[in-house]
């Protein structure tokens, strides 16, 4: 069959390899996770109603009845938020690991997220005083923009600290990350003492990460900050692949390495910053998702980046559904759920690398 097609034209043979199978399964997994997330909660909603509500939401029609309202106004914003943040963090993780040439370089572990969180908290606490001018100037973008800047500064700092002549030292990277996490954590702590009660309430979720405060207005801003880099990234897949062999090799292959790397770091910081601004610190997505996918489909970024977006979205949806329903009516911070899943994965990765260094 396929050879007959190949005789007609080689491009007609759709090579059904493993990478494509994984991508197809991931594309199927995401809607399943979405329906599951929309269905579960204190009031369970039948699947038919969910599909109807989604169609209503797309056609922007009036809300019909209580279940429609629950799905569209309570659960859908939160689910969209989970998908966007999850996709952004997973892809940002893959990019950071590519730029640092190290599978352990998770934005959370190396301090990018806490840098972003510190900047966001500073805006919340100081927007009435020191940063009043900034808050007025930037409006709805005040938080995401600050978080983006915070993430960018930390990424740059870590890059300067952990990289010598284009080679990233694993130990230096992680230790610098520990130090930056401590510093950012302490400064955030100091800011909490300056905050009033209302500011404190809106800050508490930052340290643990939660999707409970998703609003339509925030989702729009977030979608912009995550969709833009996601759409631009396919152009950088070949550069990321080449960068894994070192900056010199990438430049020999004709890439403008410094410029490309700068764009990649900005894209990662933008996605992490936007995610942190609306959902606080959710760690390990950027570590677990790319790691799992490299095992399943190999490290080629052409497939890895879209795969990370799909699986990151699915995984955070699942984790958030667990966070909402496990100890209901309590709403666990999803960051804790992710840490429980991600911590062991990080340890096993660390062991793997240590073994390679010993061998």
């Amino acid at each position: 069959m396929s050879s007959a097609l190949a005789r007609l034209h080689p491009a007609l043979v759709w090579r059904w390899n493993r990478t494509r199978t994984v991508l197809a399964l991931l594309a199927l997994l995401l809607p399943v996770m979405l329906v599951l997330a929309l269905a579960s909660g204190p009031v369970s909603v039948p699947t038919v109603q969910i599909v109807q509500s989604l169609l209503h939401a797309i056609s922007v029609s009036e809300i019909h009845g209580q279940q429609d309202w629950i799905v569209r106004e309570l659960r859908l914003p939160r689910a969209l938020l989970a998908m966007l943040v999850g996709a952004g963090l997973a892809v940002a993780g893959a990019i950071t690991q590519g730029v640092f040439r190290n599978p352990l370089a998770d934005p959370g572990l190396i301090g990018v997220s806490s840098g972003a969180a510190l900047a966001a908290v500073a805006v919340i606490v100081l927007q009435g005083s020191l940063l009043a001018g900034y808050a007025e100037l930037t409006g709805v973008f005040a938080l995401p923009l600050a978080a983006f800047a915070g993430g960018l500064i930390v990424t740059w700092l870590i890059y300067r600290l952990g990289t010598r002549q284009g080679q990233t030292q694993m130990a230096m990277l992680l230790l610098a990350g520990v130090a930056i996490n401590v510093i950012a954590g302490a400064l955030t702590g100091i800011l909490t003492y300056m905050a009033d009660d209302e500011q404190l309430r809106s800050m508490t979720f930052w340290s643990m990460g939660s999707l409970a405060y998703g609003q339509w207005s925030e989702i729009a801003v977030l979608a912009l900050c995550i969709a833009l880099p996601l759409l631009a990234l396919p152009r950088f897949a070949a550069l990321l692949n080449a960068l894994l062999m070192g900056e010199a090799v990438a430049s020999h292959l004709g890439f403008a390495v410094q410029r490309g790397k700068r764009w990649l770091i900005i894209a990662a910081a933008m996605m992490v910053g936007a995610g942190v601004a609306v959902a606080g610190m959710i760690g390990f997505i950027g570590l677990v998702v790319p790691h799992l996918l490299r095992l399943l489909m190999g490290p080629d970024h052409k497939a890895l980046l879209p795969g990370c977006a799909l699986l990151g979205a699915s995984l955070l949806l699942l984790a958030d559904t667990i966070a909402r329903t496990w100890l209901a009516p309590a709403d666990l911070p999803v960051g804790l759920v992710m840490a429980v899943i991600g911590g062991p994965v990080f340890l096993s990765l660390l062991l793997q690398q240590a073994r390679r260094v010993m061998a």
Partner: protein, 262 residues
Amino acid sequence: MIKVQELSLFSRDKILVNNISFELQSGERLAVLGANGAGKSSLLKTLASERSPDQGNLLLDGELLAGYPARLRAKRIAVLPQQVELAFPFKVQQVVAMGRIPHGDEHHSETLQREAMQLMDVWHLRQRSYPSLSGGEQQRVQLARVLLQIWQPPQDENGRILSRLLLLDECTSALDPAHQHAVMQQVKQFADDHVAVMAVLHDIALAASWADRVLLLKQGKVWAQGDVNLLTEAALLQQVYDLPAHLAQRYAEQNGAWLRAG
């Protein structure tokens, strides 16, 4: 095809390369030799456009290399570094295919990829994961990638065929003697198709058996350059490497034997 004019390179507090000039034609094999710190690698990095000249010029067919578009440069100049560290589990075939990135046909050049892998004797490894290979196998895979990058001569917009340059930076240091000679032999065969090759080499005997011209550097300066027969002159080796006389004599005799054999 490539012309180095009065090139000098400086680091913060010392002169790495001091006023070097030479020329390399298509089909020529030039070995760059010298003691550690003589400026060999700095010279090669400049030709590879990893760093820019502090003084002097590099001309590629009469055009300044510095102003040359990076993508087109990559179709004409390929570089094999001393070692390529790659911790991510790419398959051998994927690594080799990256040599086609400048041409934009990584996924549509299977025939060329197979030819390059067969030349470097890594075709049977194509489905293996790169990090699981031995150092020697990895280096052969890298050479296949680098050769694939300049496998065919590119053409300019008028259909004129452009020359190609291969730069090798102590690329055989991870290989055993059998593979050292096999690899350099294959490079020779590849270069016979009008490719200029410049190889920085540590092993004088390997240079004698492979090169047709040599460039001997000492403390950043050209001490001597010319035909490979220079390597049989004991006095010259003694000066370039600061060798004791009896050792230089032995190396010179050994090189003579290699030259007669080659």
